[in-house]
Subunit: 194 residues, 4 copies
């Protein structure tokens, strides 16, 4: 299968998952103070924001990764499907985290599940990269570039693993770290400039 | 990243957000007078109509804007992601406005949030345009064309800002203004003819 | 705007609307006789079936229509947006018709609204065709072909108008007619062979 | 109609159906032991997993099938629409199976409906293949390849038919068989190597 069709299908899943997130935000009903009640939904907005930009950043980096691939094999295709599985799953932990930050209880479990989903997604992404390197699917990449990109890929996973642990110390800090990792990947990194 | 892939991804988000809007309209249950009860849902229909054509118009103008871009940089890509964030968010304020026009209360807050979302979306759109002008991403655009298109872009934001304020005077007028802005952008404008 | 990008965006809306239909079918909860309770959902299955194939057929004919267009103008683009508005709306009357056939009441109103939505969609489709003919957007079409295709287009609208009226006599017959119109359009028609 | 546009539309439906599956997983509310209550949702996760990879595998094989087609006719287009009908329907039996495995009752009916949907989907897929062979839509395929691919296609249907029957003996075994069939199709098969 050509990499372009895998990319098109993946883009579809990214675009749908990123847009479905909003369905988890339910308008308050019978409100007598709508500013206040909309304000109380802040965990939903934060969850929407972090999940939206995380999926957005994964989409950008997915594309950059595929630009380096000269061909695809069946393993790559199914590792990619595994990545999409986690991307498509994101709306669920997003609504869990929104629900329990609003309820003000069980925030540690909710945040751990949230960060854990990002970790699983990141590991799928990383395994695609490792497989591509081993199976010779990469085109013109110098060993130095490969080392840098691999390091850059790994850093996010380390960050998400810390976010999972941090959830049991400070749930808001765990969420903030997930947001910070998305911001980190916004920055192109040295490998692009070099 | 090529502008064409950003466009394809954006088109996906536009198409999904525009189609998800319908999920906010819930059929009345156990109705004994279905004409009447369907009629009572008119705020949902109006919200669907205004949001649908606003996203539709943004889609058309997004495409026209990207036709002028000769290349994309990372800032453009993330400003575009910010635009899509607001587009994907639209179903939420649409259901808020439908809910509170139906309840007949808190219509000012609901309309202000609705128009405010369009304003945020418009400002993201406008910031993409300003960034593209400064970063030299535009191709063959004369200074006169640039001035006209910038003015045209700004007019919508002024309109949405007025709609936010108007929500506290007359919520229906605020909604009507949002609809009128969509109609304004249907018209191609002088820049296209010139 | 090129017709190909309008087509791609329209395909997105068709594909999403056709897939969202399933969300209106809710599994029975706490059932002690699941075969029976799944069976009671038959109006949802019929609605899903008729709406699915109606959108599917509109998609096929939309493509055939666009193959004849040599260019698009702004009016065409917005008539197309109007068509998509009705396509995106279809999940709502589908769930209304399913709800009231299940409740066994108000079936006439529900069927009339259902067929009425298809009529509105058909008229949007037809107006695109008329506009394209008048504005010279059609390529190599003989007057004879044009006459046939126009007639064929019109027949569906007549059928849907009859289905709206029929809803007040026999709601199931109205639904059956909507299904039959979809089947009629499956057949390519003489214009394609000639 | 060109096969490429049918493929693009189909990819859209696959991508949307695969991503909508997550909407059926509802976060537990007011939980005092969130780990436990998230754990109780395991049938939803299993359903999501099996349905996700089944749709994913169908997507991969759909693409491989279309690569062999040199042209499409109207019958193929509507058999493909029938396939998409079943694909779009999958989120419904997925939520039925999740609901009744969670409730711990009526699991046989739920599993039979689930496997039955996959069987219907598989038969649509198989009928496309048979039609393509008879109508001469296949390009360079040797009789030996044709025989192998037909056999491979049929095996899945036999598997799903067994899974329907197995549902009345052991619902979990029926589900496991559905998962195993997806895994079977992950493997490329001899026809690709040969």
């Amino acid at each position: 299968m050509s990499t372009s069709r895998i990319e098109a299908f993946s883009d579809g899943v990214f675009a749908i998952a990123i847009t479905l997130l909003v369905l988890e935000i339910k308008p308050p009903t019978h409100s007598t103070d709508l500013w206040h009640d909309l304000g109380r939904l802040w965990p939903s907005y934060v969850g929407f924001l972090v999940s939206f930009f995380t999926i957005g950043v994964i989409w950008v980096n997915h594309h950059r990764q595929f630009e380096l691939f000269v061909r695809a094999d069946r393993t790559l295709m199914f590792l990619n499907l595994l990545l999409l599985f986690w991307v498509a799953f994101i709306p669920f932990p997003t609504s869990v985290v929104a629900e329990y930050f609003r309820e003000g209880t069980q925030k540690d479990v909710a945040s751990a599940v949230y960060a854990g989903t990002f970790l699983a997604m990141g590991l799928s992404f990383f395994s695609m990269w490792v497989h591509a390197g081993r199976a010779g699917l990469l085109g013109e990449v110098t060993p130095e570039q490969l080392r840098r990109l691999t390091l850059r890929n790994m850093l996010g996973q380390v960050g998400y693993a810390i976010a999972v642990a941090l959830a049991f110390v400070s749930p808001p800090a765990s969420l903030a770290l997930c947001g910070a990792i998305a911001l980190y990947y916004v920055h192109p990194g040295r490998s692009e400039a070099g």
